[in-house]
């Protein structure tokens, strides 16, 4: 296989502790190797004057599946005038906030990303998620099935049956070729089956009579019982509501007392996603009431060692919201009267989709923008804080470089507050962003976009670093840390890398995509002891309540996962 020597670049690798030293990176047979292992056939990639990092790892984005496709199909206007023609082996690209699968793969590659986690997979629709993942070029992907409103999970946890919960989860991960445990609006989305919700962690779910707090704790317990690579990944109750920060603290505190188990190297037992939407104070969105509670949230997170989060940073764009938080989306359409799509999924979950304009002319969009950044800038350990926009909910993923720019440059943030936001002054009053001096370094950005996410996902043995033995995901950005001081340069450089090596194959050469590589679909196969009761419950529920046969539920066949990468977990002890 190919050999490459990426020479003379400024390398940033928090795992190896390399902070901008000029180092050469050697790639052979799909892995990072010692320079000395390369033969004379190795091709040199000149990274002089450029930044070199491991391939990016995105811990949470909605890029593949039924609600993403509703977003595409029901928004022809999202495609107007932004298409890119096919050229050579590149397929045609379309869409701004909900890109087609080809554009998704190419744009992540252009940003130097090697792995993206599909944030939420409704189990009954798993095949759809995998078809889209299969058709997305270049990047490795995995998907998190949702469990927080699942009838089996709620019944087992109500009875305190952790072993049964774990057995069911292991079974479902296999059926759906899933990666880990996603928990969205616990309990509330089942309540939504009747048009209701669970706003706090103590509101019991209608009929099932279990609280969100119990679901969260139960799923953490089951996750650690299995020792899965990733931890329980939660989207807490009351997303987007003014004053919800106290519910978020209640959610985060469910992790108290739990320690990670298993051999995948993560430190956390709870990952809270798009934390920005959950850090609100006040009683309304009006500037006289609304305020940022990022300090309270970060004070708590900084005081514990078993929680990670991703930002969910608002990018001030017109975008499309889509989430398994069905009641939230209904609430949103009542606010902005824009087209609302909803799908309730039998026994499992729901999804809602509504377009949203984060207009810089409104106070609230400015405040939301501020809060996302504050959370990261207040973080003590940036190995626990990850860059995200909850794509496409707070903004399209192509804005990650812009978010990085804002994190790295106070000048760029002030520019937004003073020149882009209409109510910048009010945002300075109600939020903390105006008083934060901190500017993150490239080393810290590398923590937030590769080393940290890889570790949190239990994939630190493959991604997130340029250590020998890692998968050879290497990216060269046209950014010179010694000379480039214009923050705009950060955004342009991180949007279009000069070189990308993915799994040891050269994908981007001198800024051009020259290959689509051979992407893998990762999934977790957790082996548990035989559990006759769970199997019987499964058979019964399929017979009586599901609308498909049990024999047709599993994602089987090469045509769904042509290149699977299976992570085995032994939970039989």
């Amino acid at each position: 296989m190919s050999e490459y020597l990426i020479k003379n670049g400024f390398v940033y690798d928090p795992v190896l502790g390399i902070n901008g030293d000029k180092t050469d990176i050697a790639v052979k047979d799909g892995k990072i190797v010692k320079d000395s292992e390369l033969s004379s056939k190795a091709k040199t990639i000149d990274a002089t004057g450029k930044t070199v990092m491991a391939g990016g790892v995105d811990v949470h984005a909605h890029v593949a599946g039924p609600k993403v496709n509703v977003g595409r199909n029901y928004r022809p206007e999202d495609k107007l005038f932004v298409g890119t023609a096919k050229s050579g082996m590149k397929r045609m690209e379309g869409g701004f906030s909900v890109p087609t699968v080809f554009r998704t793969g190419y744009n992540y590659a252009r940003m130097g990303y090697g792995f993206v986690m599909e944030a939420a997979m409704p189990p009954l629709y798993a095949r759809h998620v995998h078809e889209e993942i299969r058709d997305t070029p270049i990047i490795d992907q995995a998907a998190l099935p949702v469990f927080g409103n699942n009838w089996f999970v709620m019944e087992y946890l109500k009875n305190g049956e952790v072993e049964n919960t774990a057995a069911y989860i292991a079974w479902l991960l296999r059926m759906t070729r899933g990666f880990g445990i996603k928990n969205v609006n616990p309990g509330g989305t089942e309540a939504w089956g009747w048009g209701l919700n669970c706003p706090t962690v103590n509101d019991p779910v209608p009929y099932f009579d279990i609280t969100p707090a119990e679901i969260i704790r139960g799923l953490i317990e089951a996750n650690e019982y299995l020792g899965l690579p990733h931890c329980m990944h939660v989207h807490g109750n009351s997303l987007g509501e003014p004053g919800n920060f106290s519910i978020t603290l209640d959610t985060l505190k469910q992790a108290e007392g739990f320690k990670p188990k298993g051999s995948f190297g993560r430190d956390q037992v709870l990952h809270h996603t798009h934390l920005q939407f959950h850090s609100y104070g006040g009683e309304s969105y009006a500037s006289k009431s609304f305020e940022s509670k990022s300090r309270e949230i970060m004070d708590y997170i900084n005081s514990v060692d078993n929680i990670t989060f991703d930002m969910g940073c608002v990018t001030l764009d017109e975008t499309t919201t889509m989430t398994a938080d069905g009641p939230f989306e209904h609430h949103l359409t009542e606010l902005n009267h824009l087209k609302w799509a909803n799908v309730d999924v039998e026994l499992e979950t729901a999804a809602g989709i509504v377009p949203y304009v984060y207009s810089p002319k409104t106070f609230i969009a400015g405040a939301q923008w501020a809060i996302g950044l504050e959370l990261a800038l207040y973080a003590k350990d940036l190995m626990k804080a990850f860059v995200s926009t909850d794509h496409p909910n707070a903004g399209p993923f192509i804005r990650y470089p812009r978010v990085i720019k804002w994190l790295m440059s106070r000048k760029a943030r002030d520019n937004v507050l003073d020149n882009i936001l209409k109510y910048g002054e009010k945002v300075r009053e109600r939020c903390f962003i105006g008083e934060i001096d901190r500017e993150l370094s490239l080393y810290e950005i590398a923590m937030m976009t590769r080393a940290g996410p890889a570790k949190a996902l239990g994939l630190a043995h493959m991604f997130g670093s340029l250590k020998e033995g890692m998968d050879a995901d290497v990216v060269v950005y046209p950014f010179n840390p010694e000379k480039d001081d214009d923050p705009e340069k950060i955004e342009t450089a991180f949007s279009n890398c000069s070189y990308l090596v993915k799994s040891g194959q050269l994908i981007i050469n001198d800024g051009e995509i020259i290959s689509t590589g051979r992407k893998r679909t990762l999934w977790v196969d957790a082996k548990v002891n035989e559990n006759a009761q769970v199997m019987r419950d499964v058979e019964q529920k399929f017979l009586k309540y599901y609308s498909v046969n049990l024999g047709n539920y599993e994602v089987l066949g090469e045509h769904f996962l042509p290149n699977p990468y299976i992570i085995e977990v032994d939970a039989t002890q």
């Binding site: 928004r75 022809p76 206007e77 999202d78 009267h337 824009l338 087209k339």
Partner: protein, 266 residues
């Protein structure tokens, strides 16, 4: 004002996409350069010069440029797309998307226009001496922001879906219209001097529709309010005012509900 004359000489076998026929694109160019501008027939990219005789040079800017389109252009789409200033005169009938996403300037079509004329219009003046097809001054598919501003006047009849999702501006149809006028409108004004059919103002949130002639079937969500004396497009008269669509949501201002207004001349 400089005039560029574009005369059809070779008909396309299929249809021609001529979004480059616009004062903004022609501005600053000589006739030979204009002839080299791209045009599309199916997947084939060709030039305007393959289909049209081009004479005259454009002005330095769009505002200084006038385009006269001669010959049979019933198979030419997108004339005047996105133009921001200047003038286009089409001597005969044009096809779809005439003046689509227009921002300013004037288009005069001396014949008919086909569907999607003036969609997403933001400003400017569009006059059609013949008939207009469906979706006149409508929004593009999926966009809740339809026509924002500008004026469209059709001397003949119009098809269905006139002013779909209209937000602003004015559409005047001097003849009759087909079904679905101002569906989902949230602003703007549509005047029909001839007769309407049905589904007028359906799902209307805000805005104004005036019908001089007959309405075959009134939408059930429109409630008679009172008679009003008005002058509309140069004609004085008494109009019955209806508020609606009562099946739809409506904004409030100072505690008062703001309905869509449908006027029918008595």
């Amino acid at each position: 004002m400089e005039t560029v004359t574009v005369t059809m000489k070779n008909q396309p076998t299929l249809f021609l996409e001529a979004d480059n026929i616009s004062p903004d694109v022609f501005a600053g160019k000589k006739s030979s350069e204009i002839a080299e501008l791209h045009a599309f027939e199916g997947r084939e990219q060709t030039t305007l010069g393959k289909y049209f005789e081009v004479s005259g040079n454009a002005g330095p800017s769009a505002a200084d440029t006038r385009i006269v389109v001669k010959g049979d252009v019933t198979r030419v789409k997108y004339i005047g797309m996105k133009m921001s200033a200047g003038e286009i005169v089409v001597e005969n009938s044009a096809d779809m998307y005439t003046g689509a996403w227009m921002q300013g300037g004037t288009i005069l079509v001396k014949g008919n226009v086909d569907a999607f004329t003036g969609i997403g219009m933001k400003g400017g003046n569009l006059i059609v001496e013949g008939n207009a097809g469906n979706y006149l001054g409508a929004a593009y598919r999926g966009d809740w922001r339809g026509m924002q501003g500008g004026t469209i006047r059709v001397k003949g009849n119009a098809g269905s879906d006139t002013g779909y999702f209209m937000n602003g501006g004015e559409i005047i149809i001097e003849g009759d219209v087909d079904v679905h006028v101002g569906t989902h409108a949230e602003g703007g004004r549509i005047i029909i001097k001839g007769n309407g059919k049905s589904k007028i103002g359906g799902q209307m949130v805000k805005g104004e529709i005036v019908v001089f002639g007959t309405i075959d079937v009134m939408m059930p969500g429109f409630k008679y309010v009172e008679d009003v004396e008005m002058e509309v497009d140069g004609t004085e008269g008494t109009f019955a005012l209806y508020h609606g669509d009562l099946g739809e949501r409506h904004p409030k201002k100072k505690g008062q509900i703001i309905y869509g207004n449908l006027y029918q001349k008595i």
